[in-house]
């Protein structure tokens, strides 16, 4: 969220902050909270396999209780996503409640509800930030992944936000084989709308598992992303998601450069289940539920899974690699959903160790977790599965996605 640039005030030589983060924090810094599995789109790479609302999603009252808890824990902001969070009939009400509670909200959206009037109200509200998803700088590249009409919808929303004066909203791009060549175009788009570009790594999570083999950047594109970030990194957010590229050498990319799962990061899903990371919606990474006694705080502080994630990892097969200290073995979710051992190389290891490991995996890839995909829908179109009242309440403004960017 919003911490565009983390600063560290240190009085004396102490262990690097990153070492201290490995042991976990009293509350997450970067909490993702998905408010619904319902979505008007059916993006091919959806990390949460969203589409249909889950009948067990948290009620308005339960949502408020979680916000109360986050306030008490001093979680200063949350990344709200989905699904398309704005299809929840109580979305704007909850947004207001959260902001009024001192828990800032950055929400991700495909632009569905961001008409001119809504954009104006958002711009007038402190403490809310908006992140519009866009996976192509052109309609053809974007719509191939996100569905027909989704580019036009996102651009309309961006136009509305810009005209309303919501400065520095985010344009969030998942990097794929087809849009890496458009990096400069994305930067130009962001400039055109007075927005900030955010690029993140494609993970084989959710429906992403199905398309990852064809969509993930090639080796040469990974190098291209790395050099582009080295050149533009101070203006671009990354959600700290490309730290595996640090093995390419040079100065480490801005950010914590550490798998934050269960340490500084976690996910609350729409039914209240708590996972180690937004890209790890699977029973193996489920730490508990906010619905159990003790709520979210108890899960965060006492879940055995999180305790395990906060211990030093062995490094396994990567330990002997000269680059282990900077890439840390890469992304846990990327390994898991491609069938690789968690203490081995990342599937996109730039040293090539992932590719050889993948070749040996065979068919033993774990299936993804809960699936809320639209049934029988190949192409994203149409309306969300919940009805939205014509009259909606005021929303609110804030957070940046890499709280840790700039930290070192």
């Amino acid at each position: 969220m919003t911490i565009a640039r983390g600063q560290i005030a240190s009085a004396e030589p102490v262990p690097a902050l990153v070492e201290q983060f490995k042991g976990g924090l009293d509350a997450p810094i970067c909490l993702t909270w998905e408010w619904t599995y319902a979505c008007n789109l059916s993006c091919t790479h959806c990390l949460s396999s969203s589409g249909r609302r889950d009948p067990s999603e948290l009620s308005t009252g339960e949502m408020r209780s979680v916000i109360d808890e986050l306030r008490a824990m001093q979680v200063f902001y949350v990344n709200v996503g989905g699904g398309e969070p704005t299809v929840r009939p109580d979305f704007w009400e909850l947004l207001d409640y959260s902001v009024a509670s001192g828990v800032g909200v950055k929400f991700s959206t495909n632009g569905l509800r961001l008409d001119a009037e809504r954009a104006r109200r958002l711009a007038a509200t402190d403490y809310v930030d908006v992140q519009v998803s866009l996976d192509g700088a052109t309609a053809d590249v974007n719509d191939a992944v996100r569905g027909d009409g989704s580019y036009a919808m996102a651009l309309r929303a961006m136009q509305n936000l810009a005209e309303a004066g919501l400065a520095n909203f985010k344009i969030s791009v998942v990097m794929t084989r087809h849009n890496v060549p458009q990096l400069d175009d994305f930067a130009a788009l962001a400039e055109r709308f007075g927005a900030q570009l955010r690029i993140t790594r494609l993970r084989p999570s959710g429906r992403g598992a199905d398309v990852w083999p064809e969509l993930h950047p090639t080796d040469s594109q990974q190098r291209e992303i790395h050099s582009w970030l080295t050149e533009h990194g101070d203006q671009v957010l990354t959600g700290d998601s490309f730290f595996h590229l640090n093995a390419l050498g040079g100065s480490p990319l801005p950010g914590l450069n550490l798998c934050g799962a269960g340490r500084v990061v976690c996910l609350i899903d729409p039914v209240g289940d708590v996972y180690a990371c937004p890209f790890a919606i699977h029973d193996v990474f489920k730490a508990g539920t906010v619905r159990a006694p003790g709520g979210f705080a108890r899960v965060w502080r006492s879940a055995p899974l999180f305790a395990e994630l906060r211990t030093e990892t062995s490094g396994g097969a990567c330990r002997s690699c000269s680059e282990y200290s900077v890439c840390q073995g890469g992304c846990m979710a990327a390994k898991f959903f491609t069938g690789l051992p968690l203490d081995g190389p990342d599937p996109e290891c730039v040293k090539g160790h992932g590719a050889s490991a993948l070749a040996a995996v065979g068919a033993a890839v774990p299936r993804t977790g809960p699936d809320h995909s639209h049934r029988g829908r190949e192409v994203p179109l149409g309306m969300p599965s919940v009805r939205i009242p014509a009259k909606v309440r005021v929303p609110a403004k804030l957070c940046d996605s890499s709280p840790l960017a700039g930290t070192s």
Partner: protein, 95 residues
Amino acid sequence: MTTPFEPGLGYRLNPAVALRPEPFGALAYHFGNRRLSFLKAPELVELVRGLGSHRCVSDALAAVPDGRRGAYLRALASLAAADMIVPQQARSEVT
């Protein structure tokens, strides 16, 4: 822009900043500019919390052992640059 850090002046924690205790010290969050800072030592957290009760930064640092004073001073300077601590009294704008 914030004015340069001056240890001869009194500073205090910016009222827009919340400190969240953490095992390593504290996490500071600025509700105005939404920036996050990390105070990497519990002693530094105490120093920052108590800053407002001292006439000037140098006074606040008087109890700090000589060997650490320079490091604390640098830490406070970076917190001032990030607007996490602010002068106790706003000075008139100098143009």
